[in-house]
Symmetry: C3
Subunit: 266 residues, 3 copies
């Protein structure tokens, strides 16, 4: 898979795929800049009157539930259906699913109507997404009886999509194979948006490839490796402000060679 | 109060309180990162369909009027009532109140319906909030006949809440006592979001304490001290871009000892 | 024109004009900070219930189509009409016009109802705005038969406004004269928001002047010069994360003298 992924870094910079996001207002700027950093071109249209047209122009679609409301959900539906019709990949980020019934129900409803290509979340979000038992066992990652590795596999099968579970070790599964990524840094959990922007990275790679499993591995590992490299550059009198900036720098500077040197499969 | 506040820094990092924000789209990302920097966990749900559920999960609620419209206002009402029912603190930031009748009326309406724990604003905003004479005297801080110290005291009494007035010297009052903070830097007024994120800091501290007066002093002074420390690190060829980053760094790096060394009561 | 523009830098810092933005959620924070960096005061009210009141308080209005929907469009109409009534300049940024019929139609509709003072966009956006032939020739800048210089002139005449076309060389026209700016750096296209924030700069200068042509030249060239200076400071192991920060620094640090030293007319 290494050669395939290394090639994705070249492809994304050549093609500059248009990545349509319907995403939350918290990290929308981060998503745009991370898409640009890896070589893609972001567009963030959200009006129900144009999302289907915009999805038609795009090479991939990101759907993020961070700050959904009814209007945004309707736009996500229209864009998702247009993306399915065109055959472009959809990366779905179920932010906060499991926390409120509204999110959990809407997320399940969405997956029943739209075929998503990649689902990316933390363990508790994806667990809530696939299981009726999420509520009884609790949605906090610590309470989940299943390992992240098994969860990735099961989620991929149940959702008929590539599943990406971020955590200390990240797991990516296509329902048959599971790949673990042993990169990253704890500071990635201390800034907002590293999950959301991982979805942008996956979408950028998926937008130039038909191998969405490889694209998911590439996107997830790019974030974790960049998080590690950014930490190495951090001085003692610096904190998460500087870390956020260096993280974006490292994503921008990463190419196939840096990636291969940095990645540690688990 | 010093020992109480020093302890708050430890508590917030241990408990990692969930701080629910319904806030403006301008500085929502800054609020999330500042909440993380001090040790809290931000959530920014705004849909009327879930805000009450989310407030139930939270340890504190931030209500910020920066970019309100009718839908957001309705969500603020629902979240505020849920927060009151649960008994968690609400930090209210009346951004721009006094500038348009819409804001002023909605703010007064909000305070009539929801019990807020802390009100944080600049002098003109809080003055407009408590006085019918705000319009006649003008809403600009310079035109206000009352001193910020007196304003803090009067606002705390009239609003039955902790009042925090930011300015050259910041004043915090519980209606009986007034504490002044003589920290800060002019550059804090040259970047957006230092007011909004001060509310996030206060909420994070209030979320792990029942002493909301101490929490308000802790949050306000953390911002002002961090603003001072960030300025000291700024080089001649750097400006507000770098300043914003270093400010977030300093909030992240601050603990009870740094705070105690830095704070200057007035 | 040099002396006029140098004076604008002094004026904007003295007057601190209030710049009302109705803009997209992606770069709204960047717009606020860039407005502050040049010396203005940003306000971002978007509710239909108050935008007219807020525009009455402002010295200039920025209308940006990045993430428009029906509610935002209605607010833009009300604010635009209030701004026209008061006689303050409106800077219009037709983001993505030409990409979907929704945007193109709304943009034309807007220009038929509101008198805008400055239109700022890239070549394809402005071309779509003035021509029925934009769709047949495609909206990508490369497909446009007309040069950016000619486009600026023609757009200024057809739209009865100052036209600003950003590109490798930026062109600004009042319908009679055309001024080219040969500054900038390719990295300005690799971060989000440099177009949006150029509109903020133009509005800040236009808010303290009646010479909106000079204000447009000042705003556009400030961004391009700052982009050049920021690039010079960038080290090998830094990327667009650091670049964004240094760009904001350079805008903050720029004055009439730095501007005059840096500007290259084409």
């Amino acid at each position: 898979m290494n050669e395939v992924i290394k090639d994705l870094f070249t492809q994304v910079k050549e093609v500059q795929p248009l990545i349509h996001h319907i995403t939350n207002t918290v990290t929308i700027n981060d998503c745009a800049n991370v898409t640009l950093a890896i070589g893609g071109s972001p567009v963030m249209a959200t009006s129900v009157e144009e999302v289907a047209d915009m999805a038609q122009l795009a090479q991939a679609l990101v759907i993020n539930f961070g700050t959904i409301d009814d209007a945004m959900y309707e736009a996500m539906m229209l864009a998702g259906q247009a993306a399915n019709k065109k055959g472009i990949p959809i990366v779905f980020d179920p932010v906060g699913v499991g926390a409120t019934p509204f999110r959990t129900e809407r997320a399940k409803d969405y997956l029943n109507t739209v075929n998503v290509s990649v689902v990316r979340g933390n363990a508790s979000e994806v667990f809530a997404l696939i299981g009726g038992n999420a509520h009884t066992r609790g949605v906090d990652a610590g309470d989940i009886s299943i390992s992240s590795r098994e969860l990735a596999l099961e989620a991929a099968r149940k959702l008929n999509a590539i599943a990406v579970i971020s955590g200390k070790i990240d797991y990516i599964s296509n329902g048959t194979d599971v790949i673990g990524i042993d990169n990253g840094d704890l500071l990635l959990t201390k800034i907002t948006g590293t999950g959301c922007t991982t979805a942008s990275l996956i979408a950028a790679f998926a937008g130039v490839s038909t191998d969405w499993f490889a694209a998911a591995v590439a996107g997830m590992s790019t974030m974790s490796i960049a998080g590690e490299l950014a930490k190495k550059q951090l001085k003692k009198d610096e904190g998460i402000g500087t870390y956020r900036i260096k993280l974006l720098d490292q994503i921008f500077l990463m190419d196939g060679n840096t990636w291969e040197e940095g990645v540690r499969f688990a």
